[in-house]
Symmetry: none
Subunit: 611 residues, 2 copies
């Protein structure tokens, strides 16, 4: 296939279901070809063939023979199905390749799509096609007057235009031969694009640890691209408090944190737009959600007051920022919509989650709804017959694997599920790798299993010291050195159990205080919604066994994944969802737990395991 | 001279009499070297070697050989004297260069204060003092909500806040102990300043040649500081057309021109604010006027269409630009108000002038008012009983000293007044220096005196060839070499006289066409207003003698100086003046002279001198 000037024998690869084609030289691996095509395949091991994350399926044509790595790691069924490792399979002829969604890059087990949400399309930013008569000696109106007059004729009087759109107006009109797409945000022109341009919006969930970025087609509401990354601020501190300290302690510290965050968002956006073959000028709106500290750091606001009692935010209401004010690289006249924050430690991401799962508004089928997003800070909301209370509790980083002896994030090799039956320990690791450590859902399981198997008592104290799986009364061996990736025992210590007690106690006490505030008990709860990555992977039974969640009938629990991202996307395509978000935040009664008279008692009671 | 890290052979140039030294690479032109040294040489043709404005003199060392351009255009005398064109001569060895004053773009006689204007104070931006209760555990409102609630209590509900003010809000409130000046633009907070801060506005008249910058106390309307400079864009072309060409011919050419202009404005503002001991954050509003091309270059708009028929502007209406969009360094949340343009060659500076002298609105004492601002393009307005017409005529750069054999700008040594009595020539130069050349008002005088003394006829033809003061029939010696600064005869040539005829003919024809349009004649004119620097220094008698102005009774003429600057200052402190400016621009009927049926006839008739 000599379709290049150089005359080399390029071979065409067709990547499905994305529909991207690329020509490569023979011998190129599918992984490299995908990278060249702007498709990021998972590759935890860096293309060494050891992680198996880059599985693809051959649909048509032939690839190089199976390598010994593939022969070892692929099942017979997979081989028959055409599954290959992209890093091992090399191109020899023209092929069509299917990329399963799970092989698309996510640096960790990250986002899961939450419960879907049907939103009526009513976007803030929309496009209209305009054709103008060019000027002549008998019609010397300025370009802007000409455009305005035409829009007025079309039923759009009183239209404003932002400076960035104005800068490109005259050249764009002439380059496009007086036929353009005019991009309007309410009654303001924010961009002038070639006629027929499709327009997109950017939705981002800025987590303290992870970023999830989506491109949405503003005309049909469909998510057309997704990209995730670690929050680069991690290198300045793993949690919100340490980043606030960094901001306070270093000159322009918050500007540093703002800049690296925005650089990363710009890279994600560039990747996605290149993948789709669109210009960033076609990305004409954005909604970004995050906790209050992430919100403030993104916007360039001081976070000093977030680290000092009484922890008030600079801004709680919804705001819009011109993208150029903070350097976000989408259409230069676009805005970033930042939904309202509730308090210093209950942010816009919580509002977006509530919006996505309808957990703070009247519904026929549920009148008492608890919803929570578990993290270093856990945000909890209680909706009860029109009243809406929320609070934040310091649950600590244990569920993110921090402050745990063998804790780790939810990456390949992390123990994510544990069962102990008749003294036998069953472990499940992410991707089935040899155990490296324990992630949040695994820790929760271990503690629940230790307790239900009578290995620890309700106070969290080890009861026996003579079994194989524990070492004195200080730790329990979950995976012996011989069976672990790094040749070390993977253990749960007494201190680890205490960390979990503190975390789950705080969460349960937060829920109880809110229930008390409205005068109801556990039994009155109609729905118990758990959002976020950890919330999605945790085992509800384990959470109930250790008393983190109340013992409700199981169908009341809903694990909704990255609902904050869903909420952000909903606000991108719907004005009424933005209004609803503001109503939610205005209706909420924030309950400060640290000074709440009932909190300490509930907390003390919730530390023990339920007997 | 290896005085750079790279060890390249940099060559030192010593510019005299300024005494500036700079190292450049071999092959650099003297023009580029001067630019690098921050010395603005005249360069009408943009460095093409055709205008001869960038003459310099080699004092020591050697330069590249004379180019054919120089051999054609430099006289034998000049070559012997070491005169070169800076754009043609390249550096080959260390040299000492003399820059004659007439080749410097600076200094010149700059702005004069125009006729005063009393304006009722009604500024768009104002300040109010606010004291807030700090937050506490029982009052967790965000900082913005707290401020908004307080403003609402004070009778200011529905207040918005710009991003730049929001960025500083939390720290400013705490640093100032919850007592601040809130700076409002209409209903938007644009800055938060320490309690009691005085606030100022910046008014700028961006001329093609000169910049005039004023700081105005927004609370009493007084001008507290003034600073002028040359428009630095001059080094890319002396007139509007050559700058439009530069923008079209070079990648990001208009961005280059925007940047050097704004850098200079920022320097002027910094100088003025340092002089007053205030912070630039206290400069909270600005109004900038200029012709349409200057307006577009400042705002970053394309000027391509201004250089191509039918010469329509991007924007004619008044606009406001956030200062951060173009990098103007005053309070970061402030805006720049750009008053309306009338057409591609009748800009906001003309509107500002009309506003300042009330030349386009109903007045008891004057119902037919002609007002004009003479430059390379001369803008002319006629107000007649509620109708307002305006036009622009290409009067050429003769009155700025260009295209005149011994022409120069109004700098020290320029002949600015001439009288010829009984064959005796009386000259007055700026600052009383020995004559170097002739500036606009001098040229006007010479031509008028030559005509009234019968030395030229009504066609501009020399009548005699036997007197001391002229040389054949080609030129008239105004100042002999022996009495001139540079040892050369300063002459007026037949071609110079023709240039003046073309210029004054265009101006007079423009006035006549407008009068014809409303069906009146010269005698109906109640006021004849002449604005701008040249308009202020020109001799009305001379202008009448050569037929540039109609022969009205002398008290009808008003020379109003930099009225555009006065108008800009009026708009800075008064909303109603801004509204009036927009009304003026909407009311105006623009008359395109180039296609006007009566123009050519009037023009032909106006070329001759009146007999």
């Amino acid at each position: 296939m000599n379709n290049h000037d150089l005359g080399a024998n390029f071979i065409e690869i067709d990547f499905e279901p994305i529909g991207r084609r690329i020509d490569v030289l023979p011998g190129t691996t599918i992984l490299d070809a995908a990278r060249s095509a702007g498709i990021e395949l998972s590759s935890v091991c860096g293309g060494m063939g050891s992680c198996g994350a880059c599985r693809i399926r051959l649909m048509e044509g032939t690839l190089s023979s199976l390598t010994s790595t593939e022969k070892n790691d692929l099942s017979h069924f997979e081989v028959n199905d055409g599954i290959r490792f992209a890093c091992q399979a090399k191109v020899i002829n023209s092929v069509k390749i299917d990329i399963p969604p799970e092989s698309l890059s996510t640096p960790q087990r990250l986002q899961v799509e939450g419960k879907g949400k049907n939103v009526d399309l009513d976007p803030v930013v929309y496009s209209i096609e305009v054709t103008l008569q060019p000027p002549g000696l008998s019609d010397l109106r300025s370009d802007l007057s000409r455009l305005r007059d035409k829009l007025s004729e079309m039923g759009l009087p009183q239209i404003e235009i932002c400076h960035q759109a104005l800068v490109s107006l005259s050249d764009e009109l002439r380059n496009q031969n007086w036929k353009v797409s005019v991009i309007l945000k309410n009654s303001e022109i924010i961009a002038i694009l070639p006629s027929g341009s499709k327009i997109y919006g950017l939705a981002v969930d800025v987590g303290t640890t992870k970023l999830a970025s989506y491109l949405v087609d503003l005309e049909n509401g469909e998510t057309v691209s997704f990209s995730g990354a670690m929050n680069p601020q991690i290198s300045y501190g793993e949690d919100v408090i340490s980043r606030i300290s960094y901001s306070n302690d270093y000159v322009a510290g918050n500007i540093t944190l703002q800049k690296i965050l925005i650089d990363t968002l710009n890279n994600l956006t560039k990747e996605m737009s290149q993948g789709l073959g669109i210009s960033i000028d076609q990305i004409v709106d954005s909604v970004i959600v995050g906790n209050t500290a992430m919100h403030h750091l993104l916007a360039g606001f001081s976070v000093h007051q977030l680290g000092t009692a009484p922890y008030v935010p600079s801004v709680s209401e919804a705001i819009e920022i011109p993208v150029q004010a903070i350097g976000l690289k989408i259409a230069p006249g676009a805005y970033i919509y930042l939904p309202p924050n509730i308090a210093g430690y209950v942010g816009a991401d919580h509002v977006a989650m509530l919006l996505a799962v309808q957990a703070a508004q009247e519904r026929q089928d549920a009148h008492t709804i608890v919803s929570l997003d578990i993290g270093t800070n856990t945000e909890i909301s209680l909706y009860h017959w029109g009243r809406h209370l929320s609070c934040s509790c310091a649950s600590g980083p244990a569920f993110e694997g921090a402050h745990i002896n063998d804790g780790m994030r939810a990456a390949p090799g992390a123990i994510e599920k544990v069962r102990i039956t008749n003294g036998r320990i069953l472990l499940q690791t992410i991707n089935g790798n040899l155990p490296i450590g324990i992630c949040g859902s695994g820790i929760l399981d271990v503690v629940a299993e230790l307790f239900t198997n009578g290995i620890i008592d309700h106070r969290g104290v080890f009861l026996r010291d003579n079994a194989n799986n524990y070492n004195g009364r200080k730790e329990f061996i979950l995976s012996p050195a011989s069976k672990s990736e790094n040749g070390r025992n993977i253990v749960i210590t007494r201190k680890d159990i205490n960390e979990i007690q503190l975390a789950k106690g705080a969460i349960r006490a937060g829920v109880e205080v809110l229930l008390q505030e409205v005068g109801v008990t556990d039994e009155d709860i109609d729905e118990f919604i758990v959002a976020g990555a950890f919330g999605t992977y945790l085992d509800i039974e384990s959470a109930i066994k250790i008393g983190m969640f109340p013992d409700l009938s199981r169908e009341k629990f809903l694990q909704v994944g990255n609902a904050a991202g869903i909420g952000a996307k909903a606000m991108l395509v719907s004005k009424s969802q933005r209004r609803l978000a503001s109503q939610i935040s205005m209706n909420v009664e924030y309950v400060e737990l640290t000074t709440h008279p009932g909190f300490t008692e509930s907390y003390m009671a919730a530390l023990a395991f339920p007997t």
